[in-house]
């Protein structure tokens, strides 16, 4: 594109001014307040996100006596994650993988359909930056007032406003950091502990850390996080195509831009009056008229700004709107095209998302409440006994995720003539072991399996450990191996 935006020109000038420096100085962005349907939707989403973030930890969920009654709790110390009616153990970590994959693919799908909605509306960086900007406007005034004061001398007026703004920012940042902690500990308890000074050190450390990051990222770094730090804008281009709805300046309608007052005779100007309103409200300080670009978070505030101007000039609204490249091209040529929602990429993203969600749902639905794991000793694989039989040792772990203490019966199947025993304690030599496992714990038992199968084959025979819940009668099976010396003639 031959045209260079005002912001780019300014950047270029600063770059030249900076001389030998390899980086551009930050061009300070002073976003102007705006009102309109997009802005109101953005406020509504912002409030919803913040309400969820701040209040979710306070939501209670009865799980019975002796168990946490917080709806969402990531209890790292006790190795349990609670989400409403779901409870996750460290053994369930693969569900996190599924969740992350589903989240990523959802992001891909939404982006390919509607552009960077996540960036513009729900990304925490956007939400908190928006909140901080609102505070900034309350205290320091709108764009022009702020620019004027910043350019002027340091005086009491400037000083108290800056102090007040940063104090307010820090206050919100502190509550943000504090709310974060509540996801990891019982919210009412940790709040009391925090203010009485009895909370664990990590509580204070993490509150301070997230206070610092919120204050820095939302107060100071702002659009630089999106432009320089975040990897997402770098690969968003791969998700977008000419059928994706993005915030679009309708160049065919707006160009050639110019002040209508100065319109010369015979000159036909477009609807764009080049007032700069769209640039003034942009939180990342770009010019949407340059087209889709890396810095654009697709928030659409420029739409509201332009609509006001269009209303005043009497032109049709929505000079800047949500539209696709294909539709824009057709419109410029005076054609009409229908939007294509079903495209290879949306179908692939949608398909992958459906499969992942289905697998997750089925896996969650069939999630066993009792888990058995049998770990064969690595060394020795077997020992020879006085009577010539072999003995294998295993570590048996039984996770009892039910809500009651359980007694399990452990037996082996698949190889006749083997005797099962606990390495220590009662039950030696019996065919069936009794394993008591209290609720909400993992029982670990060392068991011995001995015998002398007629054939050892290549030295390893499959054997099934069967765990039976004495009360419910439910069985869980784990396929393990019984090892011994390979039969003669079974060359390696």
């Amino acid at each position: 594109m031959a045209r260079v935006s005002a912001a780019d020109r300014q950047r270029q000038l600063l770059l030249e001014e900076a001389g030998q420096h390899l980086y551009a100085n930050r061009v300070r962005v002073y976003p102007k307040a705006v009102d309109g349907p997009v802005r109101r939707a953005k406020w509504a989403i912002l409030v919803a996100c913040l309400v969820i973030y701040y209040l979710l930890p306070w939501l209670r969920w009865d799980r019975g006596p002796g168990r946490p009654n917080q709806a969402v709790l990531l209890d790292i110390g006790r190795e349990r994650f609670y989400f409403f009616w779901l409870e996750f153990w460290p053994q369930d970590i693969h569900y996190l993988t599924g969740l992350l994959i589903a989240a990523a693919v959802t992001l891909f799908l939404v982006t390919s359909l509607f552009g960077r909605l996540w960036c513009g509306y729900t990304c925490p960086q956007t939400v908190w930056t928006d909140l901080f900007m609102w505070i900034e406007r309350r205290i320091e005034g709108d764009r022009n007032a702020r620019m004027k004061r910043d350019a002027g001398p340091v005086n009491f007026d400037l000083a108290w406003r800056k102090v007040a703004k940063h104090a307010a920012w820090l206050f919100i940042a502190f509550w943000t950091g504090g709310a974060w902690i509540m996801y990891y500990a019982d919210a009412p308890t940790v709040t009391v502990e925090f203010w009485s000074g009895t909370a664990a050190t990590p509580v204070y450390v993490f509150t301070a850390l997230f206070t610092f990051t919120t204050y820095t990222l939302a107060g100071w770094a702002r659009e630089q996080v999106c432009t320089y730090m975040c990897p997402w804008p770098r690969f968003q281009a791969a998700m977008l195509d000419e059928q994706s709805y993005t915030v679009t300046y309708q160049g065919w309608r707006g160009e050639p831009r110019g002040k209508h007052r100065k319109q010369e005779a015979g000159q036909k100007l477009g609807d764009c009056v080049d007032c700069g309103a769209c640039v003034a409200v942009c939180p990342t300080g770009i010019d949407i008229r340059d087209g889709s670009q890396l810095e654009c978070i697709n928030c659409g505030l420029c739409i509201d700004a332009c609509n006001h101007v269009m209303a005043r000039t009497g032109a049709e609204k929505w000079l800047i709107t949500w539209d696709t490249l294909a539709h824009q091209r057709a419109k410029a040529e005076g054609r009409e095209v229908t939007p294509r929602w079903l495209r290879p990429r949306t179908m692939i993203y949608g398909g992958v998302l459906t499969v992942v969600l289905a697998v997750m749902a089925v896996a969650l639905w069939n999630r066993p409440l009792v888990e058995l794991s049998v770990q064969h000793d690595r060394a020795p694989l077997f020992v020879r006994m006085a009577d010539g039989s072999y003995r294998n040792a295993y570590t048996v772990r039984v996770a009892n995720k039910t809500r009651q203490d359980a007694r399990f019966e452990l037996t082996v199947k698949g190889l006749p003539g083997l005797s099962l025993a606990l390495a220590e304690g009662q039950g030696k030599g019996n065919g069936q072991l009794i394993l008591p496992v209290p609720l909400d714990t993992v029982g670990t038992f060392r068991v011995l399996l001995s015998g002398r199968p007629e054939r050892m084959g290549e030295g390893s025979l499959p054997v099934d450990f069967v765990l039976r819940d004495a009360q419910s009668g439910e069985e869980t099976t784990y396929r393990a191996a019984f090892m011994g010396p390979p039969d003669r003639g079974m060359g390696r």
């Binding site: 690595r378 020795p380 020992v383 020879r384 006994m385 006085a386």
Partner: protein
């Protein structure tokens, strides 16, 4: 920075006059004042912060030099004002760790085995400590997991030379076998190479092998059995079942320390090999020895 310089570099004649720092017209920056064949170099000093950090490290090094061991001498070194020594530091840390563990290790040392077993947490600590101590001290001979190898007993099987109860294992570890300890377990098997005729040795070998294997058809083991009863039964038991009082290994067993083929058995009769295990009292504290005992006991052979 030298103010003047002469000589040739790369064949070019350098100016003999004092160098003159001048402003480069194109970039507006200072030159270094040197010129080679008309080529001048721009002065590119370190960034200021870098330069000051460099100076700060020099200042820092002086303090470091004085506080920590630094100047080497003929028969020693200047120890530094803090008297710091890595060796002392390690000893201090080892002591600190031992003090932390003492809460558990003292109780392990004081309580009887059965009581430790009943206390789930204490038992877990003992097994963890035993596993680590085993890997550090016992594994070189007994192998990982006590799997054993020729000459070094496997610890997870059901054959014990000196007994497999907690007390027996503890004593074997603490006092060793044929070790330099007053109460060490010890025995000696005489070599029968001179005392018995070769034919008699063959007969005993046949008999011993029949105790755990299939007798060779056509071989009469009765003569060997007679010699065994006279010479061997006292320590190895009348049926070759072993004698733990004396540490006589069971022979009616598929587990043989030095091999169960004919040549190995015969060699063991003619000139017996006998293993040595060091006494661990004095090397390991009482708590660790008990932790080792608990660990070895649960490998599978504990009685």
């Amino acid at each position: 920075m030298p103010k003047s310089r002469s000589g040739t570099i790369g064949g070019g004649e350098c100016s003999d006059v004092p160098t003159k720092i001048e402003k480069d017209e194109f970039s507006g920056r200072d030159t270094t004042g040197h010129e080679w064949d008309g080529v001048k170099e721009l002065n590119t000093p370190l960034p200021k912060w870098w330069y000051y950090v460099f100076l700060a490290t020099i200042v820092w090094s002086v303090g470091y030099f004085l506080l920590y061991p630094s100047i080497p001498g003929i028969s020693g070194h200047f120890g530094g004002l803090l008297g710091y020594s890595t060796r002392v530091e390690v000893e201090r840390q080892v002591k600190a760790v031992a003090a932390q563990r003492a809460v558990y290790m003292d109780r392990i040392a004081a309580l009887p085995f059965e009581d430790i077993r009943k206390d789930g947490q204490l038992n877990a600590v003992a097994l963890a400590a035993g596993r680590v101590a085993f890997a550090d001290n016992c594994q070189p001979c007994h192998g990982p997991g006590g799997q054993g190898r020729p000459g070094y007993p496997a610890l997870g099987d059901d054959v014990w030379l000196w007994g497999g109860s907690y007390a027996d294992i503890q004593k074997s570890i603490a006092h060793g076998i044929r070790a330099e300890h007053a109460e060490t377990r010890s025995n000696t098997m005489p070599g029968f190479g001179a005392a018995l005729q070769p034919a008699e040795i063959d007969a005993v070998t046949d008999y011993v092998m029949s105790l755990y294997g299939t007798p060779v058809p056509g071989r009469d083991v009765a003569p060997g059995q007679k010699i065994f009863a006279e010479q061997c039964a006292e320590c190895h038991g009348a049926q070759g079942q072993g004698n733990r009082e004396r540490g006589g290994p069971p022979l009616a067993s598929r587990v043989h320390l030095f091999g169960d083929d004919r040549a190995s058995v015969r060699a063991q009769i003619v000139a017996p090999r006998m293993g040595v295990m060091p006494a661990w009292t004095g090397r390991l504290d009482a708590g660790t020895i008990k932790a080792l005992t608990l660990y070895v006991h649960q490998l599978g052979g504990g009685e």
